[in-house]
């Protein structure tokens, strides 16, 4: 178990490093360069100043030197300087990450709660059409552009009904509405996978054995079906991290919230490489950590998995 965990952590680190490298390389594809963009905001940049500044920030170095320099910086906690913001990357991201964590965190919680409630009610309710409606909701959630409903929601809630502030002023609705919209969107795959897993679990013969024991549907669902079905949902939850970021960009734009979303846009448009790299580091780490947690949690949810690992099938030699 310890070896398994250690191996997974090693893999996770490699994934983060690769993600970091891939993005470093792809950012080089962008036209122009961060210094020119920075300077041209003020005036037509003087080539001499551009050169001086590129030297100052090391953009004149060969790519490999820049890359290794950045990488080395990471180990001493130096994430670089975000030229477009006039701040260090840590300051820039640190200043707004709380806002994104608040939005994404609650949205995630809401998504998980929503999908479990949806699935539970749909599984236990006897009325056929109610179940059909509940099952149709997640596909609908995933089909509605977040920005579109967001805009309409703001128009109605803030201007027509006047119950919600257009600015993120910390009031209940100004957080709840984006959380609900983003959460509903993120809940869709979780709920869909849960529905599917639960359907498959219900098809297992042990369910009939439980019924034959006289167990009620409620007991069967909560004591058995759910525990058998959550593992794939957990996997999806871990993968939802990326979706949360993408969703946050949109949601934050629609609701004028500060956060990583704005930084993504700023980083890419201003070609602020250290900023983009800092972001990737955060999201890749988040993604990898969540997946790691799920992987390590998996044996607790399903006692079979640990056993299953060593057995690999190789039929033909």
């Amino acid at each position: 178990m310890a070896r398994y965990a250690l191996g997974r952590v090693g893999q996770a680190l490699i994934v983060i490093w690769l993600a970091y490298t891939v993005v470093f390389l792809s950012v080089q594809l962008l036209p122009s360069d961060p210094v020119t963009i920075f300077l041209s905001a003020d005036a037509a940049p003087d080539p001499a100043v551009v050169a001086a500044m590129q030297a100052q920030y090391g953009y004149d170095q060969p790519l490999i030197v820049q890359y290794l320099g950045q990488l080395a910086g990471l180990f001493v906690g130096d994430f670089g300087y975000a030229l477009s913001a006039g701040q260090t990357v840590v300051e820039r991201i640190g200043g707004v990450i709380g806002s994104t964590l608040e939005l994404a965190g609650w949205a995630f919680v809401f998504a998980v709660v929503l999908s479990f409630v949806l699935v539970s009610v749909a599984s236990l309710v006897k009325v056929r059409w109610v179940r059909a409606v509940l099952e149709a909701l997640p596909p609908l959630f995933s089909s509605v552009p977040v920005f579109w409903v967001g805009l309409i929601a703001l128009q109605v809630l803030s201007f027509q009904l006047g119950v919600m502030s257009i600015f993120p002023d910390g009031s209940f609705l100004s957080l709840t509405v984006p959380v609900v919209l983003l959460g509903a969107y993120v809940s869709a795959p979780i709920a869909q996978v849960l529905f599917k897993a639960i359907e498959q679990t219900y098809a297992q013969p042990f369910v009939d054995v439980l019924r034959a024991k006289g167990a009620s549907e409620t007991r069967i669902f909560f004591a058995h079906i759910l525990k058998n079905s959550v593992a794939p949902a957990f996997t999806v939850m871990a993968m939802a991290v990326g979706a949360l970021l993408a969703g946050s960009v949109i949601t934050e734009t629609v609701f004028s919230r500060s956060g990583l979303g704005q930084i993504v846009l700023q980083g890419v448009t201003a070609q602020d490489i250290p900023l983009v790299q800092g972001l990737v580091l955060i999201t890749a780490t988040a993604f990898v950590v969540f997946n790691l947690i799920v992987d390590l949690l998996h044996p607790l949810l399903d006692p079979r998995v640990l056993k299953a690992h060593p057995a690999a099938a190789g039929r033909t030699r």
């Binding site: 690769l18 089909s143 993408a246």
Partner: protein, 303 residues
């Protein structure tokens, strides 16, 4: 944006896929249910397929569905509400919004199609290689997929769109990269599942070589699942493209493109709700229909 499609996460347990009408309480009588399914008309397939066909018609023969000009507005008919003449109203330049939606279909579909194609070709090639070459190739490809997943697909799309001329090509590729991982994972699980089946081994016993077995058995049998993902992912791509359009990373106007139409209309949401709301509904409808259609295809083609 691209949440990806997570169909492949649920391991293909030997358990049956219940029939269309089956609730969770269905038991496991697989054979008859499948036989019956074959005979019966799949209404969901028809009801989602026909409107999709209509929308596809928009892409190929826009002139059949509207006689209005999508590019040149009539200055005297600026921002008029929906009416018999202008079903979706007119925009700030007096252009017919419905005509723009109709004419925009081809652009949107082209871009989404390219995105899906990128995901399909690269993704399933990776998945296939991963599943068949085994040994060190499999873990290496799987880690690569992890890397793809770890970088928000949104960021990749943003970088690619920014790095090149905006247009269907860069948008399509940018968005498509985001779905590579999904396709690769699904292809890998499907191919592994099928390869473990006896008939694949039997094909080898019957003199098939790796290539003919893949061509005759593995690929066609995996195609059903992948095809259904293709359909669903098409909808996901439409959403991703329109989201990028919303953020200002879409194709340049005046090319009508669905995301762009919404993005243009959104600043008039208070004054002319129809400019955003109605094209948005078209997107929602299309994506929902694609989702339903994809699931039907999956049911029909799953062996």
């Amino acid at each position: 944006m691209a949440l990806g499609i997570v169909e492949d996460v649920v391991a293909h347990q030997p358990g049956p896929t219940a029939g269309p009408a089956a609730g969770p309480h269905d038991a496991n009588d697989l054979e008859p249910a499948r036989a019956r399914r074959r005979r019966r008309v799949d209404w969901a397939l028809l009801l989602s397929g026909l409107p999709l066909l209509l929308i596809l018609g928009f892409a190929f023969f826009p002139g059949v569905f509207t006689s209005q000009d999508p590019l040149n507005g009539i200055a005297t008919q600026v921002m008029q509400g929906p009416s018999g003449e202008h079903w979706f109203g007119t925009d700030h330049l007096g252009r017919d919004v419905f005509a723009r939606v109709v004419y925009g279909t081809s652009q949107t579909f082209l871009t989404a199609g390219l995105a899906v194609l990128v995901g399909l070709v690269v993704g399933s090639a990776l998945g296939l290689a991963s599943a068949t070459l085994g040994r060190w190739v499999d873990p290496v490809i799987m880690r690569l997929i992890d890397v793809l997943l770890a970088i928000p697909s949104f960021l990749i799309a943003l970088i690619i769109v920014t790095a090149s001329e905006p247009g269907p090509i860069s948008l399509g590729i940018g968005v498509g990269i985001g779905s590579i991982a999904t396709f690769a994972r699904l292809t890998r699980t499907e191919v592994m599942r099928i390869r473990a089946l006896d008939y694949v081994e039997a094909a080898h016993l019957n003199g098939g070589n790796a290539w003919s077995v893949a061509r005759r058995h593995v690929v066609p049998n995996a195609a059903g699942q992948i095809l259904s993902l293709l359909v669903v992912d098409f909808g996901v791509a439409i959403l991703a493209i329109s989201s990028l359009g919303f953020l200002g990373f879409g194709a340049p106007p005046p090319t009508p493109e669905w995301g762009l139409i919404i993005a243009e209309g959104r600043q008039y949401l208070g004054a002319a709700w129809w400019m955003t709301t109605l094209p948005g509904l078209v997107i929602v409808l299309t994506v929902v229909l694609l989702g339903i259609f994809g699931r039907c295809v999956q049911k029909q083609l799953r062996f």
